[in-house]
């Protein structure tokens, strides 16, 4: 499960630039996650300066 806190996200796009799977895109001023591409590595969490991303394993 990937949650982007829209209140915190400013749109810096560090996450979309760094996602190796290109699973994150910035569209209409919000971050969209493509769950078919996302491998839940959790890297994006460590690219967000506003700690707007939460990743939990799909169980």
């Amino acid at each position: 499960m990937i949650e982007i806190d829209r209140e915190k996200c400013c749109g810096c796009n560090y996450c979309t630039l760094s996602c190796a799977q290109e699973a994150l895109t910035y569209h209409e001023y919000q971050i969209i996650v493509d769950l078919d591409k996302c491998i839940f590595c959790g890297s994006c969490v460590y690219y967000c300066p506003n700690t707007a991303i939460r990743v939990s394993r799909k169980d």
Partner: protein, 445 residues
Amino acid sequence: MVMYDFIIIGAGIGGLMAAASLCRDGKKVLVLEKLAFTGGRYTELSYKGYEVTTGSWTSMGIKSHIGRFCEEVGAKVNYITLRDRGQKHQPAPLFKVRFNNQKEIDFFKPLTLSETGLQTESFFQVLMKLIAKNTKITPETSSRDIVEEVTRNETILSILDHMVGTAAGLNIDTLPASELRIILRDVLKTGGKFGFPVGGVKSIIQALERVVLAHGGSIRTCVGVKRIIIEDNVAKGVELETGSTLDAKNIIHNAGAHQFLKLVGSKNLPTDYVRYIKHLKPVDCAAIILGLDKPVTSQCAITIPPDAERVAGVFSPTFFDPSVAPPGKHMIDVFIPLQSHNIKKEMELAWNDLYKLFPNLESLIHMKREMIFYKDWPGAESGQTFGQVGDQRLDPESPIENLYLCGMDCKGSGVAGDLVPVTVQLCLQRIKEKDKKIRVPSIAF
């Protein structure tokens, strides 16, 4: 349990500069970075063969504050300068002005241009007036106040507005004249040695890291600090997000004024100190990074578009160093100070500006990325505006003993990121008052 001499919170350029200097003096230093990468806003993220800036664009070269600090601490960086990119012994121009009719002027050449009706001599008179020691400037004087003593020409005012937008994310009404004077003097000091670091500003970050590591310092990424441990108003260490604690004789905070309040706790700080931080006016800004099949700006570092409504300036890193883009591609960084938080509207205006400025742009775009900086991660938490310039900024010595600060929000002046070494110099000076053995790099500003 290890006792560090210094724990530095945040591996931004300020934290790494402080670390490099202290490590050289034999101090046991640990730098903790919450993100997966170091450099904060002063680095690049690699994307599809492009080195995309995380905020800063460029340094100003070897004679800038950053250049001189790096040289002092032994951080070796190679630059490609305006002189390198010039022709026939003339450095390439730093600025060009480009109007919507695609007319360009290199306005450091004093000319009267009948086509634009612009007498650029008066531009020089403005510069001289701003720099001159005998021009009376008070803390309340705006940049516009001084400029209008020389000229009220709308085009010149617009050029200066856009230059100030590019340098500070502000305009001639919100940038104090005292700060503009310092910025202009700094730019003139760099001269033809204005240069872009080979490989991007990340080379500066990497050079500083090498100094830290070579002298026994440690840098840890993906490590967030939850709070600074304080006992009887003395900083003792940090507690990490994971719950572990680390001891240190001193802490240097390089993660911004608001994060400082969170890590220390407002109740542990004087009320007026907390109030100052909560009322800081940030610079909210945006960037459009474009990878292009052909260059659109002509041979200069920064293009200033006086007709643009939102775009303040356009920088071309590939003009200096083609290696920051894939082979055969070019890159431009478009800087947009935000005038509202209606981001959709702000960016629409910016794109309109770009299509008017470069009519063939759409067909050349190979890569595009919009980057918006506001909320907790603005362009700068304390913009260089009234009440927040020079000595009005945060003192590197905090109200808590052995707890210091460095970085963009601290005391100092300079062009954007070039302010940071001034804050680090002052931070080290404060530390030296307690520990005479440490050296303070002299950047002679």
